[in-house]
């Protein structure tokens, strides 16, 4: 049984949540608790499969899984002359790393929403769409096929939009869902046009094969620009970040936590296109600088828009945009020096590792912050900072989790945010000092705005109208506890986490040759 799970891990990683999502509405019609138990079971099994997949990938290198072949590794049929025919998953260290973080946050969100959604209607649809959102993220993260990436991008957008529009009674959430679905679909269509351009030139949809044949003609440049635009839009990078504040603030808080991971899957898609599909064949210096500029813009505009916000979740949404800027900065610096071995060894590698480490850190502490915001919303019924106060007396645990999240996002030493930000500061400083200084200023502004939020929400006298309700129920605390423990754990042992998880992931992205060799079985045409 165990080796069956390990041999078929990528297929099970997708099939389990899909099967769970298809059965949830059917079970929901008969018994409420049966459906809840089913969803928790499915999300736990997905977590187990994701860890098994990560274990296999980290021990034996890239896992190539072909759908429909007689045996998983038969990516290239013998008589096809070195051309991948079927869809194949090329799960390397980076993909497994993202799948692992997505499944952890997914499991925490399922536990959290057991009680945060209990009194609301339409729970069948809610849980099925949550599982489908997970399917979208896993698909985008593991696939080695461009059209497959588009299909899972669509599942991601539709499931996310439907969940953002969950609270239909006020109409504002539906408008946010409409804006999110509209922009994501337009981005998806542009991505598909780029895939069409690449298909017309190379007659293949496999990332590794196209990368081995890439001649970077003019249509390829257009395809690159369109892909960067579509995937940056999905990740909420500044010029196209209009949907992020609305979608994150109007969605139920448990959904916002998983939406952060969904937009990071978009960011992962961007890195996969930049490093594995194009890599050194494009002039990586200019593209690297474009990514750096996008990162700086995201950082700066995200924080400056966050300071004046009154709504706690909209403030955190803008911080999510600014934190995405950090990841882009780290990876952009590495991209800018991709071909230059000496600079890469000096700071490119650490910049990349800092950027990737920041992805999982951000998923953890931003998810934690949104879950605490949800707990506060459940307790007070409002998200307006001016109407809250003195919650510290009655919500001890939520206050503790909020402190952990706020200090982590501001990059205070004992927490995970500091570890990845330090790596980014060091390497970016060696690249060009001004960028690093901007990054530090933004980090200080982040701390300032979160101190303001902490003061507005938890300090001050006990408010009379929040008298009755005590602490939030235990499943919500369990969800938050999972993320808090990981945030602290990654903060205390950063070096071990970097060596085990992050360095192989960074290597997997950086050397494109290994990726192509592992998929095409060394037969580079």
């Amino acid at each position: 049984m165990m080796d069956f799970l390990l041999a078929q891990a990528p297929a099970l990683l997708l099939a389990l949540p899909m099967l769970g999502a298809f059965l949830t509405p059917v079970l929901g019609r008969y018994s409420e608790t049966g459906r809840n138990a089913w969803v928790v079971l499915v999300s736990f099994l997905t977590l187990v499969t994701a860890t098994a997949l990560a274990w296999v990938v980290y021990t034996t290198g890239t896992f190539v899984y072909t759908f429909g072949a007689v045996s998983p590794s038969l990516g290239i049929p013998a008589d096809s002359g070195g051309i991948p025919i079927r869809i194949l998953f090329a799960v390397d260290a980076m993909g497994a790393f993202m799948a692992l973080s997505a499944s952890i946050v997914g499991f925490a969100v399922v536990l959290y929403s057991l009680s945060s959604v209990r009194k609301l209607s339409g729970k069948d649809g809610y849980y099925a769409l949550l599982l489908l959102l997970l399917v979208g993220i896993f698909g985008m993260v593991c696939t080695g096929d461009l059209f497959n990436l588009f299909v899972f991008l669509e599942i991601n957008s539709l499931a996310g939009a439907a969940l953002v529009a969950y609270r239909i009674d006020k109409g504002v959430a539906v408008e946010a869902g409409l804006k999110y679905a509209f922009i994501s679909t337009l981005g998806g269509l542009m991505f598909l046009f780029a895939v069409g351009l690449l298909y017309a030139q190379y007659d293949s949809l496999n990332i590794a094969y196209i990368a081995s044949q890439m001649a970077f003609t003019f249509p390829d440049k257009i395809a690159l620009v369109l892909m960067i635009a579509a995937l940056a839009l999905k990740a909420g990078v500044v010029p196209m970040h209009f949907w992020t504040p609305d979608a994150y603030s109007m969605a139920p808080s448990s959904i916002t936590a998983i939406l952060v991971v969904a937009s990071q899957a978009g960011l992962y898609g961007l890195f996969r296109v930049l490093f594995s599909l194009y890599g050194v064949t494009m002039d990586y210096v200019t593209v690297g600088w474009i990514v750096i500029i996008l990162g700086i813009l995201s950082m700066f505009i995200g924080v400056t828009m966050a300071i004046p916000q009154k709504d706690i979740k909209r403030l955190m949404a803008y911080h999510a945009v600014s934190q995405t800027g950090y990841m882009l900065l780290g990876v952009g610096v590495c991209l800018a020096v991709l071909g230059d071995a000496t600079q890469m060894a000096a700071f490119g590698q650490t910049a990349m590792e800092g950027g990737i480490f920041h992805i999982i850190n951000h998923a953890m502490y931003k998810g934690l912050l949104f879950l605490t915001a949800g707990a506060i919303f459940l307790h007070t019924g409002t998200r307006n900072l001016n109407k809250m106060g003195g919650l510290g007396h009655s919500m001890k645990w939520t206050m503790l989790f909020f402190i952990i999240g706020a200090l982590a996002i501001a990059g205070i030493p004992p927490f995970s945010g500091f570890a990845s930000k330090l790596m980014i500061y060091e390497s970016v400083f060696a690249f060009s000092p001004i960028l690093s200084i901007i990054a530090m200023v933004v980090s200080v502004l982040t701390l300032a705005s979160f101190v303001k939020v902490f003061h507005a929400v938890f300090m001050g006298p006990k408010q009379p109208e929040f008298e009755g309700k005590g602490e939030v129920p235990t499943p919500m605390l369990a969800g938050m506890a999972i993320l808090a423990i990981l945030t602290i754990g990654f903060g205390i042992f950063p070096q071990q986490v970097v060596d085990i998880l992050i360095t192989p992931a960074a290597d997997a992205l950086i050397n494109q040759g290994d990726y192509i060799a592992s998929v095409l079985g060394g037969m580079i045409a």
């Binding site: 078929q8 297929a11 099970l12 997708l14 099939a15 899909m18 099967l19 298809f22 059965l23 509405p25 059917v26 019609r29 899984y65 072909t66 759908f67 429909g68 072949a69 007689v70 045996s71 998983p72």
Partner: protein, 155 residues
């Protein structure tokens, strides 16, 4: 406003024809142009025809919404189970474990033009039927929900 007698009689006559034509497209998906999605969409137009010819209330009397939801869930489950069976047999997800095995839908097909025999193409006809039922259910559920949304139904 409701349609005249002629339109309703025509609808009564046309609906079975649409059903037969739709299932023809679904079942012959691997032989002639068409397949699960196209056939399912054709059958869904049959329900739209009934809605146009008769009123929304009459449509609700004839078909329960749950029936379409069950059809959709059944189609999807048949589709993913057919693919998962390949995992059980030791091959990979979506392996065509029924092709060229001589059993149901298993007759091997030589290369080149042939008049097209129904009993071929392994799991493809099963998946065609599964997707046909799923698309039929999905389109009708969307139709029912949007009609309920527009008409304010019994909110």
């Amino acid at each position: 406003m409701n349609m005249s007698k002629i339109v309703r009689a025509a609808a009564h006559l046309l609906f079975p024809a649409i059903l037969v034509y739709g299932f023809y497209i679904v079942v012959h998906g691997h032989l002639t142009p068409g397949g699960g999605f196209q056939g399912g969409a054709v059958i869904a137009t049959g329900f739209v025809l009934l809605y146009v010819a008769f009123s929304y209330q009459r449509l609700q009397e004839w078909f329960r919404l749950d029936a379409f939801k069950n059809a959709e869930a059944l189609g999807l489950l048949l589709f993913i189970v057919t693919a998962l069976v390949a995992l059980g047999l030791g091959a990979t997800f979506f392996y065509n474990w029924m092709a060229n095995t001589g059993g149901l839908f298993g007759t091997p097909v030589p290369f080149g033009p042939n008049p097209g025999y129904l009993n071929t193409a392994g799991t493809i006809p099963i998946m065609n039927i599964a997707v046909g039922v799923e698309v039929l259910g999905a389109m009708s559920v969307i139709l029912f929900y949007m009609l309920r949304g527009i008409k304010g139904g019994d909110e």
